[in-house]
């Protein structure tokens, strides 16, 4: 009889511990946050803007912003501060170019989800920008328990054993639009893949850090692509009749002589030398 009680007690304890462990033992889990530039600019699914000539006035004034996501502009892993820091990196790319007069980082609060080009026009008026660089993102994070996760049933294992692994795939894309003509001038993508493991107790914290790192790495990869695309765009518009470049009155000035002036100078110097002899 005593043996049966002991056996029953053992089974009961094992069952209680096991059921506790299932609280930590996640099955496969997927988390996604995304914002789409198409959803933002074409909320009613209207077709792309009709073909028209794009007039770009140099030096250009550029606005940079994250595209709000479709759920009300809230990205759970990216705080406004983090977004600003990432957009600052994009701003630094534009700042290198002398034909960019001003770059404004536009806070998310000014972008209405599914605001369309009407929202862009408002931003253009408010911030005085002609061109808008919209950074959209798509991040998906998978969480899979690994073989060590069976140790979670010991309770202590949930604190010390890294039985959860996450896999975070991020894509960011900077699309540069001329606000007036609604034309996409160029775009540059960046992707990243972050993998890591965590204990059950620390998983949320580690996974959040992984998501933030994913954004940072993807933006870091996007920067050189953006520089390449800007250089390519500069070359492309030379032969593209649909993009016309204008200059603000007196924006850039250069002092220069001409070839005849150089020849006159050379003749003058020769005559002076001849006179000396």
């Amino acid at each position: 009889m005593r043996f049966e009680v002991r056996l029953f007690s053992l089974i009961l304890v094992a069952a209680i511990l096991g059921s506790c462990a299932t609280a930590f033992w996640n099955t496969e889990y997927k988390r996604r946050e995304a914002s789409s530039v198409v959803d933002y600019l074409y909320p009613k699914g209207e077709p792309a803007a009709a073909e028209m000539v794009t007039h770009i006035t140099l030096p250009v004034k550029v606005g940079i912003a994250f595209v709000p996501d479709g759920r009300g502009g809230i990205s759970t892993s990216l705080s406004e501060e983090k977004k600003m820091a990432l957009l600052k990196q994009v701003k630094d790319v534009f700042e290198k170019y002398e034909y960019v007069q001003k770059i404004e980082i536009i806070p998310s609060a000014y972008l209405r989800p599914r605001g369309g080009f009407d929202n862009l026009q408002q931003l253009s008026s408010m911030f005085g920008v002609d061109v808008m660089a919209l950074v959209s993102y798509d991040q998906i994070q998978f969480d899979d328990p690994n073989a060590l996760s069976f140790l979670y049933w010991t309770i202590v294992g949930a604190y010390v054993v890294k039985g959860d692994q996450h896999d975070t795939q991020t894509m960011v894309d900077a699309s540069v639009f001329d606000i007036h003509s609604k034309k996409l001038l160029f775009r540059a993508p960046g992707t990243s893949m972050i993998k890591g493991t965590a204990t059950a107790m620390k998983y949320q914290e580690i996974a959040r850090a992984g998501r933030e790192e994913g954004y940072a790495k993807a933006v870091g990869e996007m920067i050189p692509n953006l520089e390449k695309e800007m250089a390519a765009f500069k070359e492309r518009i030379k032969g593209d009749a649909s993009v016309q470049i204008h200059h603000r009155q007196g924006s850039s000035g250069g002092g220069s002589f001409s070839m005849p002036a150089l020849m006159a100078t050379a003749c003058f110097a020769l005559l002076i030398a001849f006179r000396r002899r």
């Binding site: 200059h247 007196g250 250069g254 002092g255 220069s256 150089l262 003058f268 005559l271 002076i272 000396r276």
Partner: protein, 195 residues
């Protein structure tokens, strides 16, 4: 040799990375923010290879020619003063101009000085006197063409950059003023010596 050295610096700056040469160019916002070195350095930066080659050649040739008639220290002091003066003139008198690059302000200064030397140091109505007149007329014609007729063709600038004729005008004024001040000093010394 100062003109040649100046031209060489222009070429060295041309081969520097874009980010470095951009920090040397005239940028109104940066100057307002305290980057005052741009007042000196903007004259050694250029927009295009063609602009650089013509401007630096003009400065080298005219610098060499002018220096034969004046002390090197005088020319060096003049360069040191003229560089920021031309930039400041653009800064205050042409508020629309946000960016400026080019050595032609200095070129115009040397051009004016060379023409004045030719005019005032030759016998009146001699061939060299008339040559000085022609040289001076060419400078005025360039200034008038750029200022009033919008003649972009008389410069070697890329299509997206306007001619900063004001820099040429201020350079020419500084060159003329320096020449006449120097002449006044020489005349006073002669007068004192004769007394």
């Amino acid at each position: 040799m100062l003109g040649v050295c100046f031209a060489l610096i222009c070429w060295i700056v041309w081969f520097l990375p874009d980010t470095t040469s951009s920090t040397l160019a005239f940028d109104r916002q940066a100057i307002v923010a305290g980057q005052l070195w741009r007042l000196w350095t903007c004259h050694v930066t250029h927009f295009s290879w063609q602009q650089l080659s013509i401007d630096s050649s003009v400065v080298a040739i005219l610098g060499y020619t002018v220096q034969r008639h004046m002390k090197a220290m005088h020319l060096m002091a003049l360069f040191t003063l003229a560089l920021p003066l031309v930039s400041l003139a653009i800064f205050w008198l042409v508020p629309d101009m946000l960016h400026y690059r080019g050595a032609s302000g200095i070129g115009a200064m040397l051009w004016m000085m060379a023409a004045c030397q030719m005019l005032l140091q030759s016998r009146r109505y001699s061939a060299y006197f008339w040559l000085g007149i022609i040289f001076l007329t060419l400078l005025f014609a360039k200034l008038i063409g750029e200022a009033f007729l919008g003649m972009q063709a008389v410069s070697a600038l890329p299509g997206n950059v306007q001619v900063a004729w004001q820099a040429h005008l201020f350079g020419a004024i500084i060159g003329g003023m320096d020449f006449f001040l120097a002449q006044c000093c020489i005349n006073r010394r002669h007068a004192a010596f004769e007394k």
